[in-house]
């Protein structure tokens, strides 16, 4: 079954066509990378898919339901989650509160006005499991801003995972990380994702080639190439986009 089906999606900012009649689908459990040069429309596509930006035209089907006109929070309750390219956490709240808020996001508990948030033991256990994954349980009382950038990137992903999504959108998960940190991030994503469908965009080709089953190349709002990482790597059009006209030097990084 397709987790996500996108048909004829278009979006433009003023006269700039950012997404141009885009169609693709994601199968259950697939890990798909979205690559393309700056300004190709990657973040816009994720914003449209998660409901933050309405598309000008086209339909989005999530788990066989038309979600095109649905606000972000309802898409989350259907099983979609996302992370952000720039850390978007709750800066002045403690790490534990950040994670608890992420866990209760799709529970009816979130409207309860009695008992402290930390008194809901089930959620506390889940929070501990999530924080143990990144070895940050010991830091639970600190505000997230005291964590290093690499740890905040990990928290960014933990928050998205807390609702146990069917489809996870990751926007540049390795943005601003050193190559060592990226390595452990790849390890972490590999361990955690299981059969979650993951759609992520990235500039870091290490991340793309070690995680993706399939790669979609976006260029001026259109998919120009789709295929396995190997196929994409040797495709002449991709080389042209990334490296200029073929034969003028340089090689596609492996």
């Amino acid at each position: 079954m397709d987790v996500l089906r996108v048909k004829g999606l278009s979006q433009s900012y003023g006269g700039l066509q950012v997404l141009n009649n885009l169609s693709f689908s994601l199968e259950t459990g697939e890990k798909v990378a979205l690559i393309g040069p700056n300004g190709a429309g990657k973040t816009t596509l994720l914003n449209v898919l998660s409901g933050f930006v309405p598309p000008l035209s086209g339909r989005i089907h999530l788990l066989d339901r038309d979600v095109t006109d649905m606000p972000p929070h309802r898409r989350v309750s259907l099983g979609l989650a996302r992370s952000f390219q720039i850390n978007t956490l709750f800066p002045r709240l403690s790490l534990l509160t950040n994670v608890l808020l992420a866990i209760q996001g799709i529970q009816p508990t979130r409207y309860r006005m009695i008992r402290p948030i930390t008194a809901y033991k089930d959620n506390l256990t889940k929070a501990r499991e999530l924080l143990d994954l990144v070895d940050l349980w010991g830091e639970r009382e600190s505000p997230v801003t005291v964590l290093g950038h690499g740890q905040q990137r990990q928290v960014e992903i933990i928050l998205a995972l807390a609702s146990k999504p069917r489809l996870l959108l990751l926007d540049e998960p390795s943005a601003g990380l050193t190559s060592g940190e990226t390595g452990s991030l790849i390890q972490m994503i590999r361990n955690l994702m299981g059969d979650t469908t993951v759609f992520f965009c990235a500039h870091d080709l290490d991340l793309v080639f070690s995680l993706a089953d399939r790669v979609i190349v976006l260029y001026y709002g259109q998919t120009i190439v789709q295929g396995t990482p190997r196929e994409v790597q040797i495709d002449p059009r991709v080389r042209e986009i990334y490296l200029g006209i073929e034969g003028e030097g340089g090689q596609m990084p492996r």
Binding site: S50, F52, P71, P72, H73, V76, S77, A81, R82, F84, T88, L89, F90, P91, R92, L93, T97, N98, L100, L101, A102, Q104, G105, I106, T109, R110, Y111, R112, M113, I114, R115, P116, I117, Y120, L159, A160, A162, S163
Partner: protein
């Protein structure tokens, strides 16, 4: 020796809340009627500022017309008591609170269509709208509200055959304040309250996690209206009189001053701010009434320059220092 050390330790560990409660309960034993009356007012405004803090400090909604809900409740109770002979506390008081919540329901729908500075401006305009309504002297409305003269002559309430006077009404206000402030405190610690703080910190992330942020802000706005309404009813029975000045932009601005001086996002800072401003007004303002706004301005600038977070965070810091003093090294 060992016992005295333990004793000393425990003494220093008294929480500020406990000391504050004891102080408020014992207060009428030591002071005269004028002071009891002043502290009743401090409690009422404390509750009002705390309800504003739920919106400003916890939800991040810059509500600038908060006195309107206070005024709507006070006017409703006053009009029912004076013009419709509904002297029963159990009818007039809930009616006041109900009207405040009802107004928050309606005005919230309009105001929450925008956010940030626009929300501030639209709530300011709504406050002035309510001011305009109670200030108007034409038509039947003018007769009900007393226009610019206001409406007065509301006596202390009678509950279960017990008629309150100034001293006993202090305790009534204290109990009401305690109940409401504890409710507010629990709300801020609850899943709902933490969600509000999450929305304040990052609305984008909250939406991405499944929160209907609009609904949260709307509910918070109504809760704010509810507690402002309770404060309004407490005030009209305390003061016996309300005029348009208690409703408009000046009153809302004073609430913001109290909130900022006490400390936003601290909840109890609302009571501290109310206490500091009203005590200053009593002592200094009574000494030179014409200079009072000047002194108020200097205090405000002072707090902004030296205690950016407000007085309460500074106080808690100091308390912890005292607490550490004389404690065995561990």
């Amino acid at each position: 020796m060992a016992i005295s050390k333990v004793h000393k330790e425990r003494l220093f560990r008294l929480s500020p809340a406990f000391v504050g409660t004891l102080f408020l309960i014992a207060l009428p034993i030591f002071v005269d009627l004028a002071f009891i009356s002043l502290f009743t007012k401090i409690l009422i405004f404390g509750l009002l500022v705390m309800s504003l803090d739920l919106l400003v400090g916890y939800t991040g909604l810059l509500a600038f017309g908060h006195a309107a809900f206070f005024g709507i409740a006070a006017y409703t109770t006053a009009i029912l008591t004076r013009h419709y002979d509904i002297t029963s506390f159990w009818l007039a008081a809930p009616a006041g609170v109900f009207m405040a919540v009802f107004a928050a329901c309606i005005l919230g729908l309009v105001a929450l269509r925008v956010s940030g500075i626009y929300f501030l401006l639209i709530t300011l305009a709504m406050g002035q709208l309510v001011y305009g309504v109670v200030h108007t002297s034409v038509g039947p409305l003018g007769k009900l509200t007393g226009a610019s003269d206001g409406i007065g002559g509301v006596p202390y309430p009678e509950i279960f055959g017990f008629s309150f006077v100034a001293e006993t009404y202090y305790y009534f206000a204290l109990v009401a304040f305690a109940a409401c402030s504890l409710l507010l405190y629990w709300i801020t610690k609850s899943p709902f309250g933490c969600s509000l703080q999450g929305i304040r910190e990052s609305e984008t992330r909250a939406r991405a996690l499944g929160y209907n942020t609009w609904l949260y802000q709307y509910i918070a706005f109504m809760i704010g209206g509810f507690f402002a309404g309770v404060a309004g009813v407490l005030y009209i029975y305390y003061n016996g009189f309300i005029s348009p000045e208690g409703v408009g932009i000046g009153a809302s601005g004073l609430l913001w001053l109290m909130l900022i001086i006490g400390g936003t996002g601290t909840l109890w800072g609302g009571l501290i701010g109310s206490g500091v401003i009203l005590l200053l007004q009593y002592f200094v303002g009574g000494f030179t009434p014409e200079r009072w706004p000047l002194i108020l301005g200097v205090c405000f600038v002072g707090v902004i320059m030296f205690y950016r977070g407000g007085i309460l965070p500074q106080f808690t810091h100091l308390w912890k220092k005292v607490n550490r003093y004389g404690r065995p090294e561990s």
